[in-house]
Symmetry: C2
Subunit: 156 residues, 2 copies
Amino acid sequence: MGVSAPTVAYPKLADFMCFAIYSTNLAYGRAYRPILEELGVTYTQWIAIVALWEEDNQTVGSLGEKLFLESNTLTPILKKLETLGFLRRGRDPKDERQVIISLTDAGRALREKGAQRTLVKASGLNQDEFRALQRSITTLRDNLVRHATNDNENSL
Amino acid sequence: MGVSAPTVAYPKLADFMCFAIYSTNLAYGRAYRPILEELGVTYTQWIAIVALWEEDNQTVGSLGEKLFLESNTLTPILKKLETLGFLRRGRDPKDERQVIISLTDAGRALREKGAQRTLVKASGLNQDEFRALQRSITTLRDNLVRHATNDNENSL
DNA sequence: TCCGATTAAATCGTATACGATTTATGTGAA
DNA sequence: TTCACATAAATCGTATACGATTTAATCGGA
């Protein structure tokens, strides 16, 4: 009885979806590192550039929604990218609470430089598998976000 | 020519597999937080406990292989878990370079307490979809690891 | 046996994440 | 008009990740 050797069949680490995601995220970080090193930015800095290329002159909040990050994480990253010369930060004159982020020429050039570099081949999947997998993961993410937003009313 | 508005059709953030994984990892962290708060540990601390339950008395290196982490990340986490009373750390008398990690009774009790809590329902997937997705992600991860290990010989 | 190479963990510096709080600004109803 | 409330960023403290280095122990060939 009680605590002793693993006699009960608890799920193993390899059975956890969260661990599959977690470890794949680590693997992506490592696979991307050499590419990003060439560009001179980190992973999070890079996705911020990509999101700004898609839509420039966003507020910190709007950018955060797209990156699933809040100002406490984003602000230091944006400040860093500003000192690196890739973007500008300025208060919105219409609403001084908000900060508008805009890419500089250097930031746009960086986006173009990095555009060619992706890791599709490293995934070992064909295009159909790749797309299907991506859709499934996105669905999973959106379900999790919805779950968390609902203040997870005990439905685990 | 050159840098200007996004006239070229570069892939969007939503098209990046790495971003799907990255954002899902953030979502999992948030979804699990309330559960882990009850247990009094963080996510990484928890997966260390799970891995040790599966195989107790592992070295830091062996544990790191399973968690995809190295000693620079793992050591502080294990020290923290030691001060929390969930495990013990001790040098291997056979090879003083190695540190053996063993769960305490409190650590095993924690594993049992947390065993009931998973987020399968929150994923919004049925059991077959869930398993298939997990297998695909794991394959992706292993391919990425292999790619990185091969010192990524320019095959992006 | 002895000493250079190897190995395992730990240490250090930098960059995320994030809960909680703070600061600055805007808004609306009394 | 004004003041309590709301909102947007920023700040702060804690906990990961990880490259690079350091420390300590082991190994192996001359």
